[in-house]
Symmetry: C2
């Protein structure tokens, strides 16, 4: 995985970089931005980290996470680098913040599909498991030694986006990079604990309440989370992250669906599937979207009606997908 | 990780090998034995796989798993190799089967601590994350090409014993080997699904019932499984594998305990801990044993009494461990 020469030249020649990632930042965006910033600083460059939102609690173990600035503290900058994000409109929801941001050259380093051609210099690799993997190769190519702090950030970035090496994007190159990062000081079990085993008691209680609503119909598992559950467990919608994936632990579950109650007649729906069942097509039937195995949509109806509609679509597409 | 020359000579010079593993075989023992057998066959040797117990259902995806023989079908053999096991008494519970087994030379390849010096040739490496990792290095050292079937067996062996690369034993060498095995044809997400996402509906129901019994006291989580739960979900004690680990997902849970009801006044207890809390010392207080973070024991008392006794010991050792 070779970064474009144009990007390497840009990083070598320029002196000051504003490095930012998308709103609602995740471990890949944060770890990638921090590691890139550290490596450029080690190279004698001036960098500033920018993020619209505060670093979520589960990522506050990342060395350097306290270095992020908000838009209020950031002045004009010569150059901007978007990391794990390929559109300037995704770095904030406040358009005035974007129009106030002045920069000369923009660069994009990302592994998401790109919808608009933002960026003077673009390195977009949808085949890369994580942006952290691209940053790892970039740092190596720049000839910078990977410190322990960089290694923790990059390992975490890769672990988040590969589900700790269990998703289909776990290639030999992913494990080779992760192996190198361990050599540089990343501790897999410590990072795993921070990323995947730092639930609050309230979140655990919520998880149990949600799973206790489980209904199964053929190969589809349905669970529900209500406003009352959040109240009773002092939790928020963020705490439901990954819940929808859990019922897939059952061999015979092909599609897993989480209904989140917005109000009595409005549900936000997350869908997950195995193998070739394309839940994006199901979500699209309700005006939503996503990827083959992970998608989402909204339905304005009471729970029983919404559930029935989803099951009808699942059956329709499942039948055609597996015919 | 270099296999002893004596072992390499033995494998190169001899022609027939009986390869076996421990009773209640796990993915590391089975995958290691199968991969070793395949590699020696590729080398022109005659091998026979032997296992006292049938291959558990979750490992029946391993290519070559159907090749295991039981003791009834196995005749005298020149050489025997114990894999993921270092004591001949652990290959069967039936002593007459051992005394009927005739062989000339015995070899041991294992990563468990050894209590007795069984084996003419011994390669025992407690620092290795998995026996599968040792077999990987052995096959490489013998100069044999790793086929896709061997790679799947070895990757599965390593994934099982590292908790899919989340335990403390996940070293850079582990990931480097796993990376090589992907190159040779192992598919991480497919193997993950077989190993960790192939629960029956009954097992899921049992899991929910068990977690619904959760009690927390300070940093200790306690769950219970009863005979009635097994009946109601058509499951068996094997189905509780990994259940005790789950409550550790909570940040503030340091010790997790599963009580399995044998009868009203007899419980089998599994203990798991984080970091430096040594649950083996707690288990030993009741005549059990194990490792620092995973141990077990039995208590002959009703549930409330047994629970109280365990909590008393947890407090005692937790206080001294963290003092």
């Amino acid at each position: 995985m070779m970064p474009p020469l144009e990007l390497l030249d840009f990083l070598r020649k320029e002196d000051g970089f504003l490095i930012t990632t998308h709103i609602n930042p995740d471990g890949d965006g944060l770890g990638s931005a921090i590691a890139l910033s550290m490596s450029l600083q080690g190279f004698g460059k001036k960098t500033v980290l920018l993020c619209k939102d505060p670093v979520p609690h589960q990522y506050r173990f990342l060395p350097g996470h306290e270095g992020f600035h908000t838009f209020d503290n950031v002045k004009d900058f010569e150059n901007i680098i978007l990391v794990d994000c390929n559109d300037i409109d995704r770095i904030t929801t406040d358009k005035s913040q974007i129009s106030n941001l002045k920069f000369q050259i923009s660069a994009v380093i990302d592994h998401h599909e790109s919808e608009r051609p933002f960026g003077d210099i673009r390195w977009v690799m949808p085949d890369s498991a994580a942006t952290g993997l691209m940053i790892y190769h970039l740092i190596k190519e720049l000839g910078i030694k990977i410190t322990e702090d960089m290694a923790v950030n990059l390992y975490a970035a890769i672990a988040v986006d590969t589900g700790n090496f269990r998703y289909e994007n776990t290639t030999s190159g992913v494990l080779r990079a992760a192996s190198d990062l361990i050599e540089a000081g990343a501790k897999p079990h410590v990072i795993y604990r921070w990323l995947f085993e730092a639930w609050s008691e309230g979140r655990f209680d919520l998880f149990m309440r949600v799973l206790n609503t489980l209904e199964r119909e053929d190969g589809t598992a349905i669970v529900k989370v209500t406003r009352r559950m959040f109240e009773e467990t002092s939790t928020s919608p963020d705490d439901t992250e990954h819940f929808v994936e859990f019922p897939r632990i059952m061999k015979d579950v092909q599609v897993s669906v989480l209904f989140r109650e917005i109000d009595d007649t409005h549900y936000k729906i997350s869908l997950r599937s195995k193998d070739d069942i394309n839940v994006a097509r199901i979500a699209e039937a309700f005006g939503g979207g996503g990827h083959k195995n992970a998608a989402g949509c909204r339905i304005k109806a009471d729970f029983e009606t919404a559930k029935k509609e989803i099951l009808t679509q699942v059956k329709r597409f499942y039948m055609s997908d597996t015919a």
